[in-house]
């Protein structure tokens, strides 16, 4: 049996986890419907009559799932939210951007909201910007677009523009100013993952198209027409903030300088976030594994940043 290398494993893992998050978001929308049916009918037969056999299957599966945690109605209510601020089994998770937004506008902080920051921040300090490749559901969309670009790259010309990192910081500050003058709701137009959550929730729970859907389309067009994963690199304020926070992360891409070919630049070319392992610059690295797959001499590896990490320039 052929052994998969680390890069391919990481790629497969990142696609799997992002798909799981996407499915979770869909389930959260569907569970709203489940709660309504549970409260209204509390009977699979009536659910089938009112909403069809597919809904009955979903209803019975959810019922069985939530019965594991006690009363199904109460257990179902311990789940909720979007990637912006989510609760799973009653455990809150908070987006750092949401925290800043509240800090700027409201200044009265709830304990649960602040405690929700602990896990995301720990993740960033340990692994860097992993949110972007392993959790962010919108990055799955941008990942697909980048693969389409690669596939059609032989036939069409796709530009690959670059911007300074200041742009995303500017968007972060501008967004906070907007949150101050209008409301926290404007983030659904700025943050791709929040837009994704809104679109899914509106589509599934209310059957309407959210405005956030149009900003998602805009971001996809940026990705297609301006540069590979342009949104993640230069627009998304969360990505920029996490990249900054995770620049000293414990785990990152390492390079074996002895094996590395001096004229090869493929790791920089394939990197979706324009990190350059070649010059041992692992800021913004999200451990996606693309460079590990592409590297011809397999001189790159992922591990604890330590003595083997030779700095060249």
């Amino acid at each position: 049996m052929r052994k998969l290398d680390t890069g391919k494993k990481l790629l497969a893992l990142s696609i799997f986890t992002r798909f799981s998050v996407l499915i979770l978001l869909c389930l959260l929308g569907l569970w709203t419907e489940y709660l309504n049916l549970k409260m209204g009918y509390n009977n699979p037969r009536l659910v089938e009559l009112s909403s069809g056999p597919a809904m009955r299957v979903f209803y019975e599966c959810s019922d069985a799932f939530f019965s594991l945690f006690g009363d199904p109605l109460e257990a179902a209510q311990t789940f909720g939210g979007m990637t912006w601020s989510i609760r799973l089994w009653g455990v809150p998770f908070t987006d750092p951007i949401a925290f800043f937004s509240i800090l700027v506008r409201d200044r009265s902080l709830e304990w649960g909201f602040v405690l929700g920051l602990i896990l995301p921040i720990t993740l960033v300090l340990l692994f860097g910007r992993v949110f972007c490749t392993y959790i962010c559901p919108a990055s799955l969309l941008f990942f697909t677009i980048s693969r389409i670009r690669r596939l059609l790259g032989g036939f069409f010309y796709f530009p690959n523009l670059s911007l300074s990192k200041g742009f995303a910081w500017g968007i972060l500050v501008g967004g906070l100013l907007l949150a101050l003058s209008f409301g926290h709701g404007i983030w659904i137009l700025i943050l791709p993952y929040f837009a994704m959550g809104q679109t899914i929730f509106h589509g599934i729970a209310f059957g309407t198209i959210s405005v956030a859907f149009f900003s998602l389309i805009l971001f996809s067009l940026f990705d297609l027409c301006l540069g590979q994963q342009f949104t993640c690199r230069y627009i998304c304020p969360t990505g920029r903030f996490l990249g900054w926070m995770g620049s000293k992360s414990l785990f990152s891409v390492r390079r074996d300088a002895k094996k590395c070919l001096p004229e090869c630049h493929i790791c920089y070319d394939v990197c979706p976030l324009k990190v350059d392992p070649k010059i041992d610059d692992s800021k913004d690295c999200s451990l996606c594994g693309e460079c590990l797959v592409a590297c011809p001499t397999k001189c790159l590896s992922i591990g604890k940043v330590g003595e083997t990490w030779v700095k060249l320039g």
Partner: protein, 198 residues
């Protein structure tokens, strides 16, 4: 040089964000002229509510009655992604699930008890006596029977004519949902103290 490029991009980012309020200028339905909306139970006063609500949608997610919707652009940028209730379509049943889950305290946690119910300040019901069936002598009483606080918030007079007691009425909107007249003869105004408003 590097710093100058950074600063220029930074300003460009801020300016690009400044373009977002332009979406507010898009054409809107007439209903968006309303300035006040029925918020979920336990909501703080409107200004503080808008300060605290981050639009995460957890209240809409746990509502077993599916009465909480999240607003889009039609109510303006201020209300984008905030929860609201249309009482005539589906009124709040005061189960208080949403107040328990709000992460930022935009909704004050309440218990689904009588005391919890009485501390809700969503609005006040208002009877349009000229179109109400009971006031025309045709006994109806649908609003009274829908009220979660019957005898307190709504009391009945001759021919089951509803009288709203603003002291007890919490503004859940169940009476508005139940009203058999079209358009509804009893409406919830999303202001708790109708007397103090002009």
């Amino acid at each position: 040089m590097e710093r100058r490029k950074f600063m220029r991009s930074f300003m460009a980012g801020v300016v690009a964000c400044g373009l977002i309020p332009l979406v507010d200028k898009l054409p809107k339905p007439i209903s968006s002229r309303l300035k006040k909306y029925l918020r979920p139970p336990g909501a703080k006063p409107e200004k503080e509510f808008l300060d605290a609500c981050i639009g995460c949608g957890q209240c809409a997610n746990v509502c077993p009655n599916k009465c909480i919707s999240l607003s889009g652009l039609e109510k303006g940028l201020e209300n984008l992604a905030t929860p609201y209730i249309v009482a005539r379509a589906k009124a709040c049943i005061l189960c208080m699930a949403c107040t328990q889950v709000c992460p930022t305290g935009a909704l004050t946690p309440l218990e689904p008890t009588l005391e919890g119910m009485l501390s809700v300040t969503m609005g006040t019901a208002f009877v349009a006596e000229d179109i109400c069936y009971s006031y025309a002598g045709r006994t109806c009483g649908a609003c009274y029977h829908a009220c979660p606080l019957p005898g307190k918030a709504i009391t009945l007079g001759l021919f089951e004519q509803p009288h709203v007691n603003p002291k007890y009425c919490v503004g859940c909107g169940l009476c508005e949902q139940a009203c058999i007249h079209m358009p509804q003869a009893i409406r919830v105004i999303p202001i708790k103290d109708l007397g103090t408003q002009t």
